[in-house]
Amino acid sequence: MKNCISKPINRVDAPAKISGKAKYIGDIHFENQLFAKTVRSARAKAKIVSIKTPTLPDDYYIIDKNDIPGINRMRTVVSDHPIFAEDEVNYIGQPILLVVGPEREKIYEIVSQIKIKYKDEAAIYNLEEAEVKKAVFTEYSYSKGEPKATFQHAERIIEDEYRTGRQEHIYLEPQGITGDYKDGCMYIYGSLQCPFYIEGAIQDVLGWDSDRIRIIQSTTGGAFGGKEEFPSLMACQVAVASIKTKRPVKMIYDRDEDIICSTKRHPSIVRYKAGLNKNNEVVALDIDIKFDAGAYSELSPVVLQRGMFSATGVYNFPNLKVRGRNFMTNNVPSGAFRGFGAPQTIFSTEMLMHNIAVKLGTNPLDYKIRHLLKRGYPTCTSGKIRDEVKLPEIIEKVEKMSWYRRKIGKHKKFKGVGLSLFLHGCGFTGKGEATIKGKIILKKNGDTVTLKVSSVEMGQGAETCLRKIVAHTLSLPMKKVICETIDTGLIPNSGPTVASRTIMIVGGLLRQASLELKDRWNDANEIEISKTYKHPDFLSWDDDKFEGDAYPTYSWGTNVAEIEIDPVTYEIDVKKITAVYDVGVPIDEKTLEGQIQGGIVQGIGWATIEVMNSPKGKLTQHNLTDYKIPTSMDVPEIECEFIENPYEFGPFGAKCAGELPFVGAPPAVAAAVSNAMSVPIRNIPITPEYLMELDKHED
């Protein structure tokens, strides 16, 4: 039976966006506004010897490190990225100063006259070099069972290595922020995901209390994690500029500038040593994860943690050793991107399992089934799988929809079918939710209810779904439930819009508050209810040992990819993706399908065509001519179904859903290519160039 909350409704943000009425930061004119252009490092690693600037005309300014009243670092997990470079630069594109003024043409002229002298230093360009030079930002490890002893007695040991590439978000709207210093307060407007992250960053840079800082979101044209930490950097820059010029300062990137300097998905290398027992099951696994964090650490430690805690995928490996390292390179910093470290390790582990199965001559699905997690099993970090694991139902359903087993049995060269199984930990990693303690407010005024949260609409459908949760609980029409403007002066901190936490955590709080409001509905004309997140008592987490429940619960899924390869050109044509997910209960099936289709297509892009190399610290593909993401022409047929599995603490039983669809597509596509070409696939993106090399011995 379909849950009635899941029945699709129209997206509340759609009319303004479709009609063009929605105002993005580039559309908003601020009286007396000035524009800002960033002067960036042209070197991967160097000391700045001198900066020669021209005489500035009236009304033009240069803003640099000397203008920062507080701390010259962007506040995030590791606050190591300078707002403006000091005496050194560590990547090409690192901001050094701003030129600010009323006319863009003049600004560009001034920029072209600024001469920076560098003294180059030895740079680190990739993971291999970083490992040799021991340039490690962060190193973590955890283990479970008796890996050492189990390896000693293993019947067979298989070692393998997997690689994934850099990926750029390509949100439709490039980054843009305006800072307006007015009446002793700082107002920041822009395209952003995490208003309170920016508030904190501004506090550090200005040395101010939060009551003088307002962060206001403008309509945001996509983010995918790319607007999680990066807007903080721009916001701090324009804030300082606005104080110096006493005018609003607007900074909007072109696509090319955005690509050059914004964060990317971490390139990865994952090495495995798998110990097999006499039944050929993996009983011990040693996983060594390496992420290229780029020039600054920023929030990479948490990306690495999610990568490490997702590295066993949907499987139970009783004896486990996991090491994770973030390496420092002189590449553009890596950062948050849909999936947050998990896509790299899930891809690698799925392909390891696939490749072992093929090597053993067994059906990959049958082989995987022998290792599946079940309710009551320990997680990789020795926590507990508390909720029912409906993988058997998920697999049965996808098999009926796709005829996977039948198709893989009828092997034809250049035609392939591949299957992935995957999960995603819901909400923040480790102690994240317990630390942030998200807060929401629900306010009744007559027959209208206003919900106050810091979860933003950025194209994913958050506003529709959060309002729907409240409206549905109170049996109110959608138009009677409204969202407060995302303005840190008006809303409580319910946490950032990240980690697929919006529906489950923030929506969960709204559901609780709505139920309470329902009880008290007739008590008064005006009622305000606030709720603060409380981490369930039964969850335990040791952040030093990485032991316990890394996540409150998990969402699950499977993808079957069917592909064809052009026998002459090796181009991959993804024909169809069949997908089944357990996301608890879908809050809105249409919105969720949007997330699924988008996630799958973004995953296919990462797995096949999105190439972003940085050979000497300089991105080879730095514009949309060279860096290609899938277009509507490249979208395969996508068929998707849900298995309901209500989660006790989620609103209407909902769990996480936003990142999950991204995670599943790459290993399914890679397995299908492997099937079509009879070669093991270990690297993505699987370009025709790479495939031709793999197939060389064939002709």
């Binding site: 050109t569 080879t620 593909q621 001519t625 160039e689």
Partner: protein
């Protein structure tokens, strides 16, 4: 100094060309990208623009003496729907850019841009297309291979405009085209291949072979084509290794952001091999 001029007709356009150094612009889908400087800034044109996209005389497709004359200002999207245009050319044009770009971009622009990745070029080289270049006082007709000299270089004089493209009256009963891009739409060509042949009574009466994106200019060799013409198709198979070897010396691709030289070369030869295998 004028920033731009929008002539009433071709005559006025040519008169402007004769008097001013200028950059002819029709759809601008290449030029505006090449000259873009950044958000909110004027594009970087060092000469006044001469707008020619609207000139009716350049927008006609007609048949004269059996040859097809295509106006230089004919849109890519118009080529696709015109019944005088061969299926072979339509196939190439359909895979160019995106519908909005095809509604702006012109065939003349694709030729004058002179990119080795220009997607109408392999076909135009293969069919020996000729170009009419006009000035106020002269008109000359030139083979496309003589017009494009290097990447981004052509022999258009400062007072001339490309007005028409002539496709000779010639029927090919086998046509093969493949564009290899990074994705299915809105993609620049990594490598492309155009094969045309006229096969009668199992004999190769004519064959044309052109490669795009794998050398500074489109690769076509009359000499190698001549070595195949006249052969019975049954003998082609045996000749394939020799033919591939000859073309391999002409195909000199580069490594760039979109692909590798090795892939481009190998895939070009594989496409040729595939085309030849379809003749018998």
């Amino acid at each position: 100094m004028v920033d731009g001029f929008r002539p009433a007709d071709l005559q006025e356009a040519l008169e402007f060309r004769a008097r001013h150094p200028s950059i002819p612009i029709a759809g601008g889908t290449d030029l505006m990208v090449q000259k873009a400087r950044g958000f909110g800034l004027k594009p970087d044109f060092n000469k006044p623009l001469l707008f020619i996209g609207h000139l009716r005389k350049l927008r006609q497709i007609s048949v004269r003496d059996g040859n097809i004359h295509i106006g230089a200002g004919v849109l890519l999207s118009e080529l696709i729907i015109n019944d005088k245009i061969s299926e072979a050319l339509k196939m190439a044009v359909r895979q160019m850019a995106s519908p909005p770009s095809r509604n702006l971009a012109t065939i003349g622009g694709n030729i004058c841009n002179a990119s080795p990745a220009g997607d109408t070029l392999p076909y135009l080289y293969a069919v020996d297309a000729k170009l009419i270049l006009k000035s106020v006082s002269s008109e000359r007709i030139i083979h496309i291979g003589k017009f494009i000299t290097d990447p981004k270089q052509n022999t258009l004089e400062h007072d001339e405009l490309l007005t028409e493209i002539i496709i000779p009256n010639k029927i090919f009963n086998v046509s093969y085209y493949k564009k290899v891009g990074q994705r299915k739409g809105m993609s620049l060509t990594k490598a492309s291949f155009q094969g045309l042949a006229d096969i009668k009574n199992s004999n190769v009466l004519d064959i044309r072979i052109a490669f795009g994106s794998v050398a500074p200019i489109i690769v076509r060799s009359r000499e190698i084509e001549a070595s195949i013409i006249g052969k019975p198709v049954s003998e082609i198979n045996a000749a394939v290794p020799e033919i591939l070897k000859k073309y391999a010396t002409l195909i000199r691709p580069i490594d760039d952001a979109r692909s590798s030289a090795a892939y481009r070369k190998r895939v070009s030869l594989r496409l040729l091999e595939d085309f030849l295998s379809k003749l018998s």
